[in-house]
């Protein structure tokens, strides 16, 4: 039961169809990309920090330090995501005009492969902090941030929009100040989705941590101290034993963070559930119970109380929360039209300039080549999904319908799902090299390593929620195995399967960037858009990066809109239990 609540993309798909706004927004993002690239191109190597080498020491004694560095990056990124979420979602939910642009931006940012942007952001951050490793740190943290922030912002935005109307009215009638409204109503009412989505995004972000600590950009390779770099270095040095150690440490980290941080938070967040009735299976946490029984919470709360009082007073200047109760004026509507026109015009000019840039450098024909490579990667994603479905749906159903098995299997699967697949890449690549299988096929396996668990994970969740009386009815009617699947199991798990499929396909696209070019002693390359972007990034070929990103984003967005969203609608309309 608990798991259905935590499906990340569920809310994010509840959005309207493709409208012209989306095109504008897509264009706008493209323009920003182009601008950053333009700036990055003018940069030169000198201000790149000299103290960050291409590799780090693979002495296992350093692992605790590396692990701590990686953890710190994760939590800094989480904090940044939280701040971003509060500001972005609140503004989007409160201002109609801002919402029109902000939500489609978020939507597209969430669909496009984050890893592809790494090169751009690294360049930008290095420019911000010339000569220091801070720029690289920021770039790495930013990559992790992009894996968490969109999802969390969406979750909070939707909780604001779906806030129970009576609570909103009560708040307004009590004339709460804006700060009180935010702190006493908005944040608590969004706490449950925020924490669940935070936990999931955090799990997904490990992958980006591992990918962003070592990065090749502008013909330079940088490795920040961290567990991800450790694996990358060990991999290029062909040290399988050290990789195995790193994998074990990683498992401990994933499980530990879950046990010590997220489970207690989830248990605590139950307090903020809006439904008045108590949920059937309340999430529990041993750590939370221990902490709550101790005097730590009250000791911790005491120094904050004056701060709270001060904040309460200081924020009074922002005024009282009110939705405007005066009817919409004509001038405001005209203002909206002008606003829309200016935005559209700016974007149109920008898109034209960006295309012009590509035309002048590599030629628009490059797009054709990139689309062909995109088709190859697309084919891999499809194969990954088909195989994940064939393998994991039956297993997931079996686990989900056996409560005893699922009690054991679910936490294990959860760990697998958040375990960064790129940690095991070297082992698989070693096998590929040994057997002589081309990476063109092998990369499918690598992509599947990261993506498949989403299918399993969601199918288990779906199967475990099939009502018992339906299953009993199926037994009573003596349905054959096939009939039972066709009439009961498949319809029942369909919504969760779709959710899993969307997540898995997104994961596979992202993984392609690190799976189509792999290093284990030697470097293997597959033909595909992921390799195209990775190579363009490594050599600092900006027009190619732009082309590659645009093409990949187009693939992802179009497939999402044309295929997944339709399935999702069907799932919602017909097969929701």
């Amino acid at each position: 039961m608990a798991m259905t609540r935590m499906l990340p993309v569920r809310a994010t798909l509840r959005r309207p169809r493709l409208r012209w706004v989306d095109l504008v927004v897509g264009g706008a993002i493209l323009v920003v990309l182009g601008l950053v690239l333009r700036v990055g191109q003018d940069m030169d190597v000198p201000f790149v920090p000299s103290n960050v080498g291409p590799t780090i020491s693979t002495d296992p004694g350093n692992i605790p330090f590396y692990a701590a560095c990686s953890l710190l990056r994760m939590f800094v990124a989480l904090a940044a995501s939280l701040v971003f979420t509060f500001i972005y979602a609140t503004v989007a939910a409160r201002s109609k005009r801002a919402e029109k642009a902000m939500i489609p931006v978020l939507d597209i940012l969430q669909s496009v492969p984050v890893l592809g942007f790494l090169s751009i952001t690294v360049t930008a951050f290095i420019a911000l902090f010339p000569g220091s490793a801070l720029g690289l740190e920021c770039a790495s943290i930013f990559a992790i941030f992009t894996a968490m922030a969109w999802n969390m912002a969406f979750a909070f935005y939707y909780s604001l929009r779906s806030q129970p109307k009576p609570l909103d009215e009560a708040g307004r009638l009590m004339r709460l100040t804006r700060w009180q409204r935010f702190w006493k109503l908005d944040v608590p009412s969004g706490m449950v989705p925020l924490i669940w989505n935070g936990m999931l995004s955090f799990g997904g972000a490990w992958f980006f941590l591992a990918a962003s600590e070592t990065i090749s950009v502008l013909n330079h390779q940088y490795a920040l101290p961290g567990i991800g770099s450790y694996v990358a270095t060990a991999s290029s040095e062909k040290q399988l034993g050290k990789i195995a150690i790193a994998i074990c440490v990683m498992v401990v980290m994933v499980v530990g963070v879950n046990f010590l941080f997220w489970r207690p938070l989830v248990a605590w967040a139950e307090k903020f559930r809006i439904e008045d009735s108590v949920a059937a299976d309340v999430p529990r946490s041993v750590v939370f119970d221990v902490v709550r029984r101790s005097s730590v919470p009250s000791l911790m709360a005491r120094p904050w109380r004056p701060v709270g009082r001060w904040l309460d007073r200081a924020t009074r200047v922002f005024g009282v929360t009110t939705a405007s109760v005066t009817p919409e004026a004509e001038t405001k509507r005209r203002g909206d039209a002008v606003f829309d026109f200016v935005i559209v015009a700016l974007v149109a000019v920008g898109v034209w300039r960006a295309l012009d840039y590509v035309h002048d450098t590599v030629g628009l024909g490059e797009f054709v080549h990139a689309f062909w490579l995109g088709a190859l990667t697309f084919g891999r994603v499809v194969i990954v999904l088909i195989f994940s479905t064939l393998v994991w749906v039956p297993i997931g159903v079996w686990i989900g319908m056996n409560p005893r098995v699922s009690r054991i299997a679910q936490p294990v699967v959860q760990v697998f799902a958040s375990f960064p697949a790129n940690f095991v890449f070297p082992i698989v690549v070693a096998v590929l090299i040994a057997t002589g299988i081309s990476l063109n096929w092998g990369s499918i396996l690598l992509m599947a390593l990261g993506a498949q668990y989403y299918v399993l994970f969601n199918v288990i969740a779906g199967a475990s929620t099939i009502p018992n009386d339906l299953r009993e009815a199926a037994t009573l009617f003596r349905l054959s195995r096939w009939q039972k699947w066709r009439r009961l199991v498949i319809p029942a798990i369909f919504p969760s399967y779709v959710t899993g499929g969307i997540t898995a396909s997104g994961g596979a696209w992202n993984a392609s960037i690190v799976a189509e070019v792999v290093t284990y002693g030697t470097t293997l390359t597959a033909a595909g858009i992921g390799a195209y972007i990775a190579e363009a990034t490594a050599t600092g070929n900006f027009p190619d990066i732009l082309v590659g990103l645009v093409v990949m984003s187009v693939y992802v967005v179009v497939v999402n809109r044309l295929f997944w969203r339709r399935l999702y609608k069907l799932a919602q309309g017909r097969y929701s239990l």
Binding site: P166, L167, A170, R175, L176, R273, F477
Partner: protein
């Protein structure tokens, strides 16, 4: 059901200065078609010092919208709301509000909830605490200060709601159906507490405005009852209640007031009650966009049978009381039966017509055929659908065709609800069918064949394209008007426990208004809501046959209590 307190005297506060005045309030929502949907039309209300005013109306009368305009939570399209002479531009500074769903912050304790309003006013923590505790005391909640709302029963939660509204010492107390989510006994108890506070000197509030759809509640509490008409909401009548408090519900004067209100609501005003000309007549039902009542076929059939079983005539107030129905539950059924001319309204009572008698007497099949004929002749929307379908060669039209038609006069949501209700009725009469997958309505060419097949002893022919939850949806015509709550979804899913795949073709004939065990097994909660007799409370005994309907309150509001209450009573 009289109150336990006997010391209450008639209110001594005198009506004089208006605290809040709403003048000529009009509230219009744009329809997606560019048209307008008028919720309130030219409503004026004054709330004076020392009076309790009740706003009473059916669903769709805009009574809650009016309350929100007065609270400054919504802006009227035209018209002015003044508080103490000053025009409102934001939330009304002089009111406290009690909500139907309590609207307590689940993450704050009782005391923190009560303190929140004071915190907003910048009251110091010490004073906040003191005033909150006093309010909690006043409302009888001492000992619960540190409890969270979810730990409390509905009645206790609403007490917190009262304390929170009163702690800021508002000039006027606004209440939005404050008792309708509570069970009968609890709401009775809270009502008398309210009157006790009102009569005493502890309550700082000068006036009370209560929105309700419970006629007896309005008459029990109010000095003035404003009856609103529906679509658009207008003030239909104003009744002054001059009975001394506590008011005895059995007294003839009280009952006369109840009957008066029923008469006004059904459009048959008793003599002596002033009704403005504009509210008197509803337009003749000839156009397809005439609003059809949110009623289910089985509910309406059940009502006709109940009235028939009681000798062909019954008082509306008696029916409502015995069925534990409130206005919103009963009147749509009455409207539907009247629309088909199976019942007719005389003052505050209904009478079975000749056709109604025939309908009540006939067996399932005959009743169904009769229903088909009547609904086609007398319900404009159904007639329009049949005509339109007959006019196209293949007898099929997309749902959106009709929704677009309806959107000219209804909001998007209401247009869909209207069509869903009509589809439910048409399906029952086997006039046309609806395929949810293709979203197409189709003329039911097999209707007659199906009926004769039924006559030959075979059953369940026309349901192969119907999913169980659609049957429920059609049954709950009125419930569709409400946004789907999670609770409702739960019910829908439980109703599907009979299985979409394997039982879809089983015998699921749509209820015909008779006790139908198959339908009941489809919706277990309905069976629970239809618990027939209740030995503990004589006034709730239902002598008539099982009524196959689900009152809206029981599905869409957090009110499962009335049926639960009856369970409990029965066990004892």
């Amino acid at each position: 059901m009289t109150t336990t307190s006997t010391t209450i005297v008639a209110t001594t506060k005198t009506a004089s200065v208006p605290i809040i005045s709403a003048e000529n309030i009009r509230k219009v929502y744009p329809t997606p078609d560019g048209g307008e949907h008028c919720v309130l039309d030219g409503v004026s209300v004054d709330l004076r010092e020392g009076e309790i005013v009740a706003l009473l109306g059916k669903s769709g009368s805009g009574k809650s919208t009016l309350l929100r305009c007065i609270a400054g939570l919504a802006a009227p399209t035209s018209g002015v709301v003044r508080y103490r002479g000053e025009r409102l531009r934001a939330a009304n500074p002089g009111v406290g509000m009690v909500f139907q769903t309590f609207a307590l912050m689940p993450w704050l304790t009782v005391q923190q909830n009560v303190e929140l309003g004071l915190e907003a006013h910048g009251v110091t923590p010490a004073e906040r605490r003191e005033r909150a505790l006093r309010a909690i005391d006043l409302i009888g909640l001492d000992g619960y200060e540190s409890a969270y709302p979810r730990e409390l029963s509905g009645g206790m939660r609403q007490r917190v709601g009262f304390a929170r509204a009163l702690v800021v010492e508002p000039d006027a107390l606004l209440m939005d159906e404050p008792f309708s989510a509570l069970d009968v006994l609890t709401s009775e108890n809270l009502r008398s507490e309210l009157l006790r506070l009102w009569a005493g000197s502890d309550m700082p509030t000068q006036a009370v405005l209560i929105v309700t759809h419970n006629i007896e509640e309005a008459i029990q509490l109010a000095d003035r009852v404003l009856v609103l008409s529906s679509n658009p909401g207008r003030v239909k009548a104003e009744i002054n209640i001059r009975l001394p408090r506590p008011r005895d519900r059995r007294s003839p004067e009280f009952e006369r007031h109840v009957d008066d209100v029923y008469g006004i609501l059904t459009g048959h005003a008793p003599e002596g009650v002033a009704i403005p000309a504009q509210g008197r007549l509803s337009p003749a039902p000839t156009h397809a966009d005439t609003r059809i009542p949110h009623a289910s076929v089985s509910g309406m059939s059940g009502l006709v049978q109940i009235v028939h079983a009681r000798g062909g005539q019954a008082g509306l107030a008696d029916l409502a009381e015995e069925l534990l129905f409130e206005v919103d539950d009963l009147l749509p059924l009455v409207d539907f039966a009247v629309l088909l001319r199976l019942l007719e309204v005389r003052g505050a009572s209904v009478r079975v017509t000749d056709e109604g008698r025939e309908y009540a007497r006939s067996d399932i099949l005959a009743a169904k055929e009769m229903f088909a004929r009547l609904v086609r002749e007398r319900v404009p929307l159904v007639k329009t659908i049949c005509t339109a379908l007959a006019a196209v060669p293949d007898g099929k039209l997309r749902r959106n065709f009709f929704v677009d038609l309806l959107r000219r006069s209804f909001s998007e949501e209401e247009a869909n609800v209207q069509l869903d209700i009509a589809i439910g009725w048409g399906r029952h009469g086997e006039l046309f069918e609806y395929d949810a997958d293709t979203r197409q309505l189709a003329l039911d060419v097999g209707g007659h064949a199906a009926m004769s097949a039924v006559a030959r002893g075979r059953t369940g022919l026309r349901v192969d394209r119907v999913r169980p939850d659609e049957i429920l949806a059609a049954e709950e015509g009125s419930a569709r008007a409400q946004p789907r709550s999670s609770q409702r979804r739960f019910h829908r899913s439980s109703s599907r426990s009979i299985g979409e795949g394997f039982a879809g073709r089983a015998d699921l004939r749509v209820g015909s208004g008779r006790p139908d065990s198959r339908l009941r097994s489809l919706a277990p909660r309905r069976a629970a809501a239809n618990m027939r007799t209740n030995p503990a409370t004589p006034s709730t005994t239902v002598r008539a046959p099982l009524l196959m309907t689900t009152p809206r309150t029981r599905t869409t509001r957090p009110n499962r209590n009335s049926s639960r209450l009856r369970h409990t009573l029965r066990r004892r």
